[in-house]
Point group: C2
Chain length 348, copies 2
Amino acid sequence: MNQNLEHIARLAGVSRSTVSRVINNHPNVKPETRARVQAIIREQNFRPNAAARTLVTQESNVLSLVIPQAVASTFTDPYFPMLIQSITAKANELDYALMLWIGNSNEMADRFAQRVLENSLFGGLLIAAAVNNDPLIPYLVNVQIPFLIIGPPPLPELNFIDVDNLGAARAAVSHLIDMGWKRIGTITGPLNMGAAAARLDGYRLALQEAGLTVDEALIVEGRFDEPSGYEAMNALLQQQVDAVFVASDMMAFGALRAIHEAGLRVPEDIGIVGFDDLPASASSTPPLTTVRQPIQEVGSLATQMLADLLQGRAEPPYQKILPATLVVRQSSGSNSFRWSSGGGVDSH
Amino acid sequence: MNQNLEHIARLAGVSRSTVSRVINNHPNVKPETRARVQAIIREQNFRPNAAARTLVTQESNVLSLVIPQAVASTFTDPYFPMLIQSITAKANELDYALMLWIGNSNEMADRFAQRVLENSLFGGLLIAAAVNNDPLIPYLVNVQIPFLIIGPPPLPELNFIDVDNLGAARAAVSHLIDMGWKRIGTITGPLNMGAAAARLDGYRLALQEAGLTVDEALIVEGRFDEPSGYEAMNALLQQQVDAVFVASDMMAFGALRAIHEAGLRVPEDIGIVGFDDLPASASSTPPLTTVRQPIQEVGSLATQMLADLLQGRAEPPYQKILPATLVVRQSSGSNSFRWSSGGGVDSH
DNA sequence: CCTCTTTGTGGGAGCGCTCCCAATCTACTG
DNA sequence: CAGTAGATTGGGAGCGCTCCCACAAAGAGG
């Protein structure tokens, strides 16, 4: 039953080698021979054995995307879905297959890393949302598999693509200061993740630059998801903040919910800036001022960069930082007089 | 540089075969030999070559999840993310790696199918959200790769897992009728998808059973996403519907937006029932009455069923239909008097 | 007509692994 | 203490492919 090159070769009256040449589009096959072989291949529904091929060439067209430790909520937030989608799209375009590894908090990180390693057949890896001290990174360095980090790299010499988290956070907080808010708090992501830490640094920097003191009581750590934003905002309301920089839009939605429940209005009573610019952020109540992260571009570029690395078109360390821009809408303050982007019409 | 069994064997002073036995946990290796070999493997950071292994055993621990044609919006809807997450979790648990294939509307379906086929090394496939006439299905049948459909099967004898779309839709619409609504429309999913068609059938059935006529003008086709729900609802408002059964929660959110924009209230003026029971549906305004689909369970079970098939623990056709239950909240009507589930407290 | 290149084709070797069988070693039986 | 079953180990074969080299066939040039 199992077909192989030899089988096709026999049917076409040629040799294994010729069939191989036809499949791999090598030159030096007589056009009519090529046509005959191709016909048989189609007719027999023959697909060359990927394992055998990989074995001999020592390379596969498989990339892996690794998300070391996802919680259930990771997937109600569109960030990862959008990232995954842009990665699969680019991978398909470049003719790579994508292997998806999502770590599970219950599983030991170490065992997970082992499993990923054992199964990533020669391809490269994309690591998203790595936490500090993830055991996978040292393993990979050790084993010399090409890989690229999506986000801030835990070590300086690694390949990575990131957005300018610090700069964008700083711009967001400066904007809140410009809008006249005084007591500005922040809701951070999990601080063992580089992106969350960088955004917090940006927050501190902006306050310092404006000559304001950083009050540690106004810094509350969240988990990037909606419920944690809700909780954190409730804590900040106790601290009488009048504005908040929230490190993700999902948390900002949670914060909005907490603020509304407390009977306060945005942006009349409290100013708020998010981070991500999710599709839903433009139509929240009120529309959210937020930092636009080019999520899809990050995914797409990450894939391209890894392919460059694998195919020798780039040398490590291969690093790129994309800008992230502030999108001013209504949640950060009544702004019709100074930030008149577009029509500048206030909500009715 | 490249390590192999022979290399480890030499270092441990044993043969290739023994190393293989250690790696595969075969019995009949003297405990101290086993320990020595394991030590060397760890020390050398050795990982057996997956391709070679697959080549000889003719089986791999790779499953593929195929989403034949996703649009960008597919991934702002939590349905697929939740499905993917439950599948990866189960796959990891069963020691399978997961390959993810997301079709792209621009790419020819046929070429996509070919690529999937060529790269799915011996493992089985999970097909989600298949559209009718997808060329992948006949290919798979032809090539005899084990696969399982998530959703209604396009052919009767295929392996599949589905939820009772028809029954649940019928219950949802019956509920609207029970709430006293008369002119009940529906927003369907893309009707070339089995699940969408089945939900529409349920809608028709419920109306017929209640002795109501089905008005084709009250049936509007959407694309399962928020914007299409918004558009469809605007069309239905023209038709003066007083209630709507919406085939996905995302579309229901869009419908809610359209209704609010039109200055109408839910559930005072219009009753609405969704489908999916996404996490956000419990906290929408008003909380959405919807059909709870056990998305995660579907993903998890699908993976388990495919593994059963691959490992010969089940014979095709292997089929399962899960119940979906109506969750009554506030959007379907003021219900404190007849559907007093829980406290039955109305919104204040 | 003979050499020399070019084009097209076939077959051997070998990628790293598993599986089978044979060989060896051990421990126990009568 | 021979005899044997069982445990342990080693090496050959072969999975299906690509790559290299050898060779045949077909032109090109003198």
